[in-house]
Symmetry: C2
Subunit: 305 residues, 2 copies
């Protein structure tokens, strides 16, 4: 029998300031040089077992002069080069585990090493953490055939889709803008044989009237990563990052807005989108877009691997 090692374990709720209303993330801390770093097979097996949309492994950076930590991100069925809520939740865990928590880190810049390279993170005054949306490796309209598969999986009509866009920034997302928020909220999340091959999400804009209240969101988002065996993801940083670049780019969204996600699953996720316009010499399309959110540590303990 192989002997087991004990690692620090956290399960966080990301994109919410209240536990159990955001997107859960399991983080296994393997920073201690006295412990073996779990191998690829172990990481995948554990991520399949936690059954969360993502599980991450917090590791020492390859080059400590360039990054604060390295993360490996797994869905139940595959490793991802980048993902949003795991990035925020892993950074939060790094701060908690090594630097005394998020309160001590206000205003701090953190650099995360992951599959797409280095990702910049910023700890805001309210304790929320934001990352810069990674560049899109694929944009442009979505093939009609794929749009129809997504419509069928959601039980909506093709006419309910008013625009389409590839927004690949690691995960192979495509986005559909639906005619209104009601259509977004009523979409079904039941996969079919065809939709199991794609990863897509939808966005609908709240009416100017609905956006009046202080707490109001600009749009409602839902994400269906059927290709990784997840019917619906509660709140999705990477998809929100792609959608933000698309909507702000085409002038539909303002440079600062809040997206709501997870309502259809009984959650109440809030994703804060912010384009940094401080460097006016930068072309508008080149200015960094920050994707941020609050997070709550719900479970703290150890895991045996």
């Amino acid at each position: 029998m192989t002997s087991l090692s004990t690692y620090p374990f956290y399960q966080l709720d990301v994109f919410t300031d209240k536990g159990y209303l955001g997107n859960p993330l399991a983080v296994i801390v393997a920073l201690d040089p006295a412990l073996p770093i779990p191998n690829d097979e172990q990481m995948q097996k554990i991520a399949n077992w936690t059954n969360l949309s993502e599980t991450t492994f917090l590791l020492p950076p390859t080059d400590p002069s360039k990054a604060d930590y390295k993360v490996r991100i797994y869905t139940p069925v595959e490793e991802l080069p980048f993902a949003g809520h795991p990035t925020i939740g892993t950074c939060r865990t790094f701060l908690e585990h090594t630097q005394g928590g998020v309160q001590q880190a206000k205003g701090k810049k953190i650099v995360q090493e992951c599959g797409v390279g280095l990702v910049n993170l910023l700890v805001a005054e309210d304790g929320s953490i934001a990352f810069t949306a990674p560049p899109l490796s694929k944009t442009g309209p979505v093939e009609e055939e794929k749009v129809l598969v997504a419509c069928k999986a959601m039980g909506i009509a093709r006419e309910d889709v008013i625009d389409t866009q590839w927004v690949i920034n690691g995960p192979h997302w495509f986005a559909l803008q639906l005619k209104d928020v009601t259509t977004v909220l009523n979409a079904s999340r039941i996969p079919n044989q065809e939709s199991k091959k794609i990863k897509f999400g939808v966005v609908g804009l709240y009416s100017p009237q609905e956006r009046q209240s202080a707490d109001a969101a600009f749009c409602e988002i839902r994400a269906f990563p059927h290709s990784v065996n997840v019917d619906e993801d509660p709140v999705t940083g990477s998809f929100n990052a792609g959608v933000a670049q698309w909507l702000i780019g085409k002038g539909v969204a303002p440079a600062h807005y809040v997206a709501s996600q997870g309502q259809a699953m009984g959650r109440r996720g809030r994703v804060v989108v912010h384009r940094d316009d401080s460097d006016l010499t930068l072309e508008v399309s080149k200015r960094p877009i920050w994707i941020g959110g609050e997070s709550v540590i719900c479970v703290r303990g150890t895991i045996q691997i």
Copy 2:
């Protein structure tokens, strides 16, 4: 802002002696009288968030002279009156948390209070825990219409099903005996609109040759609780309990056998079935059938509610 309380938290792997090859279960311990017992809404919200097939709350028994503890069992979408792997995992947690672990409890009888009443548990010499299969509230052949929905969801032909049976013992399971193990292992787990209304599983018998090896299983089981938004459950005590009563009852299975489940999901669950023939005055059909398995505690810590 409401203040939070901190409860002991365990995440176990049930029906396996090696971590990450069984069925995960989250257990929240609310035995401490100084802590408020979470309300129904909180319990359901947390079970939705853990995203496991079941999450349980370990509570003080209503009458300590009759039961050792009380458990409430939640899937991501509903409370269950009874379920198998949560029963074994919660009992294991009870022993670990209050009695110094399973090693100290060998040979011990435990009584669990749950939605179906009192359930007897036994701690075996090898540290595994078994419960008596609860009485079936519904048996008999399954309506043809439901069989066809299940066949469609699994992508198998109606002719591949050689027998059908309702096996309701809390959860509304029905069972299909398939012609062989290959058909069981190749069945698809993709739900459809219709299968989202049912909860079903399949069993196939290994050939006498395949049962030769010491470690061999008698049958291969898979369970698809689509009605609770779970595509496939890795290893399922309640379904195995119903199947055991059915197969032993119709003389297809011996009084003692091991069922294998989870292979199609990369797991390696083992469910030990044993009919207690010690009281020969009892009619064969009335003799208790024990469903047992080993379990491993993978995560230990606390949860904030």
